[in-house]
């Protein structure tokens, strides 16, 4: 009987060990190849800020099952409401791979884990943004993630494990709050443009952006692309009061603008750089100031009549050339001088 028990125990062990190893292996594999599930969000350190004061925004990550090597955080906001002061890394991301870059209505930084054996996991702060409030607003003003935000996960088939982003908003009190009553008009050129269409569950998918929504919408707009506007069409519409409106004109290099709807929900804007003759698609996204939900609509328009014609490379935001026109100027001068010399010689021959 004792022998039978020993044999049975041995058999059970022999059978169970491979089974356990198999299931552990399965779980390991699941852990190593978790589906992209990382989210980014941004939160201000207060609910309202006075004009002239600084608000500190925490950029938060939740990696779920992912193991994150690095994260490119790209943010956009209304440049008439905020001035970017600084952006740096925070506790969960001990390294900065690309220094913070601040622009008009934009802030970008790439942060990272210490090394691959200590990836970023869990929930916490990866970056801190400081913005100075410039003008008052009757409704909360949003800061949101641009589409070129990227979270690089280790051991994933899809290296970008970012699935959604959550914008943040804050009310600016004091100062010239009339700014909120009148439509604001700003231009930014963030590399990624409009916030991710997968930002939050209420956002419509990209495929649905081609047509206007069938259901009644709080977001509407029209495009006045008359030739007399010189390639700068007027985008004008309505949205929930205080909504942050992001307008992306899709061209070789997309132009992105962020405006805030006034207290009656009206907004309007024009591109800062004239568009060339051609047909364009414009995608407009409204971020509700209190609920954080977004709505997106799109339309096409045509610039005709040849009045537009800005060079495509103007909207790339290239720096002003420091010595750009020297050669051309010199060539023209030399040509002019040669003409003077030849003219003088001709006159001399005529009268001598």
């Amino acid at each position: 009987m004792k022998k039978v028990l020993i044999i049975l125990t041995g058999i059970i062990l022999l059978v169970s060990i491979p089974i356990i190893v198999f299931f552990v292996g399965q779980q390991q594999e699941i852990r190593n190849k978790a589906a992209p599930a990382t989210t980014l969000s941004i939160q201000p350190d207060k609910t309202s800020v006075s004009v002239g004061e600084t608000v500190i925004w925490k950029i938060l990550i939740n990696t779920a099952e992912n193991r994150v090597a690095s994260a490119k955080v790209s943010l956009i906001f209304d440049q008439t409401k905020f001035e970017a002061l600084s952006i740096t890394n925070s506790t969960l991301a001990p390294r900065i791979l690309n220094q913070g870059t601040l622009g008009a209505g934009t802030a970008t930084i790439t942060v990272a884990a210490q090394n691959t054996t200590n990836p970023i996991t869990g929930q916490g702060e990866i970056a801190i943004l400081r913005l100075k409030a410039l003008n008052g607003s009757a409704t909360p003003v949003a800061v949101q993630f641009a589409t070129d935000s990227f979270v690089a996960g280790i051991g994933e088939d899809n290296p970008n494990v970012l699935t959604s982003t959550q914008p943040g908003s804050i009310t600016i009190v004091g100062g010239n709050s009339d700014m909120a009553a009148a439509p604001t008009n700003t231009t930014t050129f963030p590399p990624g443009g409009v916030p991710s269409p997968t930002a939050i569950p209420t956002t419509k998918s990209l495929e649905n952006l081609v047509a206007q929504p069938a259901s009644p919408s709080a977001l509407n707009f029209t495009v006045d692309a008359e030739a007399t506007r010189g390639g700068k069409p007027l985008f004008k519409g309505t949205a929930p009061a205080g909504a942050t409106i992001t307008i992306v004109i899709h061209a070789v290099s997309p132009q992105t603008q962020v405006v805030t709807a006034d207290t009656t929900g009206n907004w309007e804007t024009t591109p800062a750089i004239a568009l060339k003759t051609g047909t364009y698609t414009v995608v407009v996204t409204a971020l509700h100031p209190t609920t954080g939900t977004t709505e997106t609509v799109s339309s096409s328009f045509t610039i005709s009549g040849g009045i537009g014609g800005a060079e495509e490379n103007e909207i790339t935001g290239d720096a002003i050339p420091e010595t750009g026109s020297t050669e051309t100027t010199l060539i023209l001068l030399v040509a002019g001088c040669l003409m003077m010399v030849f003219g003088s010689i001709t006159l001399t021959k005529k009268y001598i």
Partner: protein, 465 residues
């Protein structure tokens, strides 16, 4: 008709007119060119610096720029004659190339390779004595194994190259030999340059083959300390080279390139580009990036003897102070013999080991150690960063103009200071060093700093009560 025309013949009048025009034209051209240059130079933004003394950012690293490269103008231990001067630079890493040809390491008798490390060991010992770790550019092909005996050629047998790399790493990183930890081995030097072989990414002189066999050799190393193997050490940051190396599947512990760029801000662009390319390869984003040679020009220039080179280096360090490359190597420590326009920080010993202005930059900026403070309002020419360390606040500013003539009076404002009396020190590198006492009641200290061309200053605030 004027007096001249009345008293001279028409022929002479015409002749004088033509001569006048011919004389005047070059002057006109010159003046116009100067005007255009001045106008175009003036395009830019002056600085208006605001330091928020309560907005504390990340810690500042000062090690990354304490890296230096030495060329191989002489087939000997070039650092030995200037070792004291080099030690004072407090170097962390020193890179040398020409390790095989200048130090006659490899011999081949019949089919067997033999190695004589004695001369190279001497150079490595000199580096170690300065407090730095050596970075060895595995270059060039030992004549004993190179096709035609030409050191920029591939080997006759690639396995010989793998063996050479294996023995090199084994010798310096092996626990049973020199036992050095954390050594960087860089595969070749400027492989894309004609002088160093004009290697490509395909064909007979394929850098990827060179690298693969180097990685094979590294794989065979036994019982060694951790070491880094990387490349491609190209003359610039080239996407095709970086991406090709990143996707080879061979061991790559760091990525390296050289930067000879007149505009310091291009270093930021390069770093951004590199990370953008690597984001789809997440594990690569965490690997060290090494600019193993940098300067404002790859050519020899007398400007390397001046404050131009010093201001340039400071401006590059400012650009890299946050989120920059892991190490940037100033090229080079010492001029070659007979060079009057060399890249060296220090003149050749035959010319009196003259210390050049660039030499003083590293120690000067070391004072900025601490946590970075928020600075806004940098300009086109005047840039800088601020730090706080043990309650001492410092602001570093550099005025670098690549055209060489810009001056600026910079408004500087420190905000959110605790009330009290402060000692304000204004210390120009190569210039004045003054101290004043300033009572602060409203938390703000404002100053105007005159920045002459190619100058660097640290403004230091220490609360005295």
């Amino acid at each position: 008709m004027n007096v001249l025309e009345q008293n001279t013949s028409p022929k002479i009048t015409s002749l004088i007119s033509i001569i006048s025009i011919l004389l005047f034209l070059p002057l006109l051209l010159f003046a116009t060119y100067q005007s255009v240059t001045l106008i175009t130079r003036a395009v830019g933004t002056p600085a208006n610096i605001i330091v928020d003394t309560k907005a504390v950012l990340e810690p500042i690293k000062t090690d990354f720029y304490h890296a230096f490269a030495q060329g191989g103008e002489e087939a000997e231990d070039m650092i030995a004659p200037i070792s004291a001067e080099v030690k004072s630079l407090r170097p962390k890493l020193i890179r040398i190339d020409h390790i095989y040809d200048n130090f006659s390491v490899v011999k081949k008798d019949g089919g067997n390779l033999s190695f004589d490390w004695s001369r190279l060991d001497g150079a490595i010992n000199t580096i170690l004595a300065t407090g730095a770790k050596p970075v060895l550019a595995l270059s060039y092909m030992p004549a004993a194994i190179a096709k035609g005996g030409v050191i920029i050629n591939p080997p006759d047998n690639w396995d010989d190259w793998a063996t050479v790399v294996e023995k090199t790493i084994q010798h310096y990183s092996g626990k049973g030999e020199k036992n050095l930890g954390g050594i960087y081995y860089e595969v070749w030097n400027e492989p894309d340059l004609g002088s160093f072989g004009s290697w490509k990414l395909s064909g007979e002189k394929n850098y990827l083959t060179l690298y693969k066999y180097a990685a094979d050799g590294a794989k065979r190393v036994q019982n060694a300390n951790y070491f880094y193997l990387g490349g491609p050490a190209t003359t610039g940051l080239y996407k095709n080279w970086i991406m090709a190396l990143a996707s080879t599947g061979a061991r790559v512990d760091f990525f390296s390139w050289h930067s000879y760029l007149p505009d310091p801000k291009r270093y930021v662009t390069d770093q951004e580009n590199f990370i953008t390319w690597m984001l789809p390869y997440p594990w690569h984003t965490l690997k060290p990036t090494m600019i193993t040679e940098f300067g404002f020009t790859g050519d020899k220039s007398t400007l390397y003897n001046t404050t131009y080179a010093a201001a340039y280096t400071a401006a590059v360090i400012r650009q890299m102070i946050s989120g920059g490359a892991s190490h940037i190597f100033s090229f080079e420590l010492k001029d070659g013999p007979g060079q009057t326009n060399g890249w060296g920080l220090i003149g050749h010993q035959n010319a009196g080991k003259k210390i050049k202005p660039r030499y003083s930059v590293y120690g000067f900026i070391d004072q900025m150690v601490g946590n970075r403070l928020q600075v806004t309002g940098e300009g086109t020419w005047v840039t800088g960063f601020a730090s706080i360390n043990n309650k001492t606040i410092r602001l570093f500013l550099v005025n670098f103009d690549k055209s060489g003539s810009h001056v600026e009076t910079v408004p500087v404002k420190f905000t959110n200071l605790d009330p009290g009396t402060y000692t304000v020190r204004q210390h120009f590198l190569f210039g004045s060093d003054s101290k004043t006492q300033q009572p602060i009641t409203d938390g703000i200290l404002e100053q105007k700093i005159y920045m002459a061309t190619q100058t660097m200053v640290i403004i230091e605030l220490t609360k005295t009560d």
